[in-house]
């Protein structure tokens, strides 16, 4: 709770109102007549342009928080504010990359990535759309797979296609639920690098769920550590690594190791308690 109040103080001191705000937001699910508390009443302020990672064991309510920010789920009690407004329905200001990739199986990679630009709300001239799609495909390393359908792609490729599809319309806020789980480590670093430069360049606000502490430290301004069910915030860590960060080298710096150790100390009790990571 201490960290909580400091976090809010920081947001207040900067003079900028929070971009996203959880106010005593809680979520209880009914499973076969039983109430399961997924998220204990939680306060959290996320600043504009901030890159924030949510880490913690499975079932700690990380995805629940994303779903509430996206407006796909209403908190059982409490509120979620976006730009000071309560989120009551699908939040069109966010781009949400869910754990399941939801690529449309009848569309090729190219057409899946393109879909947002076909919508009236992001109407884009054809030539420009072609151009941006091509750039995106190159950015996520799917060149040569433009005409494949999702079923013909590997799990990692699908994740990358889903990321490209979300990034292409440049939402002001990006919600990502374990986007790089299925990638091998080299490719993951490349993707982290791309994601960092894109989000920094476009000054996006990012809320990022991950199991990988290294990934969280590499990218984030702050890391929110959640504890197992019912999920609650255990601590919030400021990541004091200078930007821009070299995702390929930052993990070999002493500051990184120190950060990693502190996080691990925070998490290991929960993990050892027998939840799967």
């Amino acid at each position: 709770m201490n960290e909580m109040s400091t976090a809010r103080a920081v947001a207040g001191a900067a003079g900028t109102p929070a971009k996203i705000r959880l106010l005593r937001a809680e979520k209880t699910f009914q499973v076969r007549g039983q109430d399961i508390e997924a998220l204990h009443p939680t306060d959290l302020d996320i600043r504009p342009h901030e890159f924030i990672a949510l880490v913690g064991p499975s079932g700690c309510g990380k995805s629940t928080i994303l779903n509430m920010i996206a407006g796909l789920m209403r908190p059982t009690a409490g509120e979620v504010l976006y730009d000071g407004q309560a989120v009551t329905g699908p939040n069109r200001r966010v781009g949400y990359m869910t754990q399941k990739d939801t690529l449309l199986p009848w569309r090729t990679t190219r057409d899946n990535i393109r879909i947002a630009l076909e919508l009236k709300s992001h109407a884009t001239p054809r030539a420009e759309a072609d151009d941006r799609v091509r750039q995106m495909i190159e950015l996520v390393g799917l060149k040569g797979f433009e005409n494949h359908t999702p079923a013909e792609l590997s799990g990692g490729m699908r994740k990358r296609a889903a990321m490209a599809r979300t990034l292409i319309y440049e939402p002001e806020t990006l919600l990502m639920d374990e986007p790089f789980g299925a990638l091998d480590s080299q490719l993951k670093l490349l993707m982290l690098d791309q994601l960092q430069s894109l989000t920094q360049h476009r000054r996006m606000t990012v809320v990022f769920v991950t199991h990988d502490l290294g990934e969280a430290i590499t990218l984030s301004d702050r890391i929110v550590v959640l504890s197992a069910r019912p999920g609650r915030i255990r601590a919030i860590h400021e990541v004091r690594l200078e930007r821009p960060r070299d995702v390929f080298k930052v993990r070999f710096t002493p500051a990184f190791s120190e950060q990693h150790e502190r996080l691990w100390d925070e998490l290991k009790d929960d993990i050892i308690k027998g939840t799967d990571v």
Partner: protein
Amino acid sequence: MAEGQRTRPADASRFGRDNILIWQVALVAGLLAAWEFFGRFSGGDQVSSPSRIINRIVIWLGGELYPHLFTTLGELSCGMAIGCSLGALVGLVLGRMPIVSIILRPIIVGLYSVPLVTLAPLFIMFFGLGLLPKIVLVSIVTFFLLFFNTFTGAQQVDEDYLRTLDLMGASKFEQFRKVVAPATAVWIVGGIKIALPYALVATITGELLATRSGLGFLISRAAERFDMTSLYAVLLILMALGLLLSETALRLEHRFLRWREAAE
């Protein structure tokens, strides 16, 4: 054929594909020869014979067949076009309107429980002896088949796809066009495939009852005159037509649903 090879590839390959073909040809040739033999030497008119039937078809192909063939095909395609498009459209819309579909459900199920071809006399009374009663009959038969298939498909659209599009800022109409319609296409094409043979049955049934043209008319005229050769000839033509239609349906399916084959 193709079906059998797919389900039991081991058996088929052990026997050899060429051997299978030889046996099939031999079997059909044997049956035809027996029929021909029987037809020639028994002298009975009911039996007719393959050579006489082929002869009759060749004569018809000289001109007489075409108006009848076109009548039947015209009724079939008009009826299919109307019935399938309306069925798919209503199925798509109702499939996405759970409350309305619950209200309408008993009415639709009730209507569909009537064996539809029995409506033929009714339509003939309403619409006379021309093409119209057959077109209406085919439309109704195919409408229901398409409706039920499409309806099921539209209900099973993955909500996660819709949510994804919703967050991207897609309007309800855009979600419908980009997700619901293509996701349901599998079911629509499947429905058309099922509907084709039923449509043929409905057309011929309508023509058998009262008409002045069409393949069904050729059948009833032949039957009235005890002209077995003509009767068999029409049946042969119908068989060919049926095969042609199902082949067309397969091609259609392959063309529109290539992504699905990849998924499987």
